[in-house]
């Protein structure tokens, strides 16, 4: 799952794959702002068929957080 999520992150945030690590923080390490995160979330929602409500976005800071969120809501 990490590889696929990485791919989606690289495509949506325009970052280098080598920079995307499980512990990477979207805002601090990957330079994403809130609108980038919305676009990323939408791409993940489409890929995994989960819904990530806006209020839950606050709980998601790192790549690991996203993977855990999807796994527990699938």
């Amino acid at each position: 799952m990490l590889e696929k999520v990485k791919e989606i992150i690289v495509e949506n945030l325009g970052v280098e794959e080598a920079d995307v690590k499980p512990e990477s923080n979207f805002k601090e390490d990957l330079g994403a702002d809130s609108l980038d995160l919305f676009e990323l979330v939408m791409a993940l929602e489409e890929e995994y068929g989960v819904e990530i409500p806006t209020e839950d976005l606050e709980k998601i800071a790192t790549v690991n957080d996203v993977i855990e969120y999807i796994e527990s809501h699938k």
Binding site: D33, S34, F38, E39
Partner: protein
């Protein structure tokens, strides 16, 4: 029979407020606003009223179309920010421009207003109910924006745009439009709660980025028009990031998406006709060109139409 756009016109207020000026009013910065919205400045109606801007845009469109005031038999003004509640802004436009033979009314569909009004005008012409229609989008949003809310006041601006639709032989395209009233809380002005526009920015952003590409695909498919046939997509100018995201999702180059949100901000129902007039005045449109116009906003409302120039 088709309703052809015979002329365009616009009017934007003299007063230009850049991001730096705004930064003295709320806690924000030029860089922050530019990165998230693309907006550099907006024009504010300090001297003008909504109906005065609508009238000037309408007058300019009639000049461009070489239409006599007495020829106009219908005026539709799409607006969310009229300076009077009764009568409609369209009645004031009629009086200002001497459109004595016209029937006049306003239409409210938030930022989709102009697209809905264009569709209404087109259907009147096809049905032969009216022959020469002035369709205007006009907003004085500065009068309904909370200037202490940095989440919204940085986005909006004032202005008006207009087109003249006239009957002509030819084929028309069916529009694609939608409304989702269950999301009425996402973008609203409920006077008993607050005199200002309230918006759930995140929800509206997600809505726009997901629904606009879908409705554009829908209108193309419905009319069996290929993306390669479309010269420009004239989208409601809500936010540069939305336009970029829509382009990416449609897999179409940014060159096909003219933008002026940088200079005017989000002018709601006025943004599509102001941009149409801008690209028309620049000579970017030739007879026979196909373009798509698309609006999206409070309601929620969204829609797209194909126009042959």
């Amino acid at each position: 029979m088709v309703g052809k756009i015979k002329g365009t016109g616009s009017y934007t207020p003299q007063y230009r407020m850049d991001n730096n000026e705004l930064s003295t009013m709320v806690e924000t910065s030029d860089e922050w606003i530019r990165e998230r919205t693309g907006v550099v400045a907006r024009h504010i109606a300090k001297e003008e009223t909504n109906s005065e801007m609508a009238s000037k845009a309408g007058e300019n469109a009639m000049k461009n179309a070489k239409v006599d005031p007495l020829e106009v038999d219908l005026v539709i003004v799409a607006t969310n920010s009229p300076e009077v509640q009764i009568p409609s802004i369209a009645c004031l436009v009629q009086d200002n421009l001497g459109l004595k033979n016209a029937t006049c009314y306003d239409l409210v569909a938030a930022c989709s207003g102009f697209v809905y009004a264009y569709n209404a005008g087109l259907s009147y012409i096809i049905s032969k109910m009216y022959k020469c229609i002035l369709v205007i989008g006009s907003e004085a949003l500065s009068t309904i924006v909370d200037w202490s809310d940095r989440g919204t006041c940085i986005l909006f601006g004032d202005g008006a745009g207009a087109v003249v639709l006239k009957e002509e032989e030819g084929n028309y395209y069916l529009p694609a439009t939608h409304t989702d009233g269950s999301k009425h809380n996402s973008l609203k002005l409920y006077p008993k709660e607050s005199p200002y526009v309230q918006m759930d920015g995140g929800e509206v952003f997600k809505f726009a980025v997901s629904k606009v590409p879908t409705v554009v695909e829908e209108v193309l498919e419905k009319n069996q028009v290929e993306k390669s046939e479309i010269k420009y997509y004239v989208l409601h100018q809500a936010n540069k990031r939305i336009v970029e995201s829509v382009a990416k999702r449609l897999k179409e180059p940014m060159e096909k998406f003219p933008m002026n949100v940088m200079e005017y901000g989000n002018t709601s129902a006025a943004s599509v006709p102001i941009l149409l007039d801008e690209i028309n005045q620049k000579g970017m449109l030739e007879k026979g060109d196909k373009i798509v116009i698309a609006g999206f906003g409070g309601g929620l409302t969204w829609g797209a139409s194909i126009i042959t120039w």
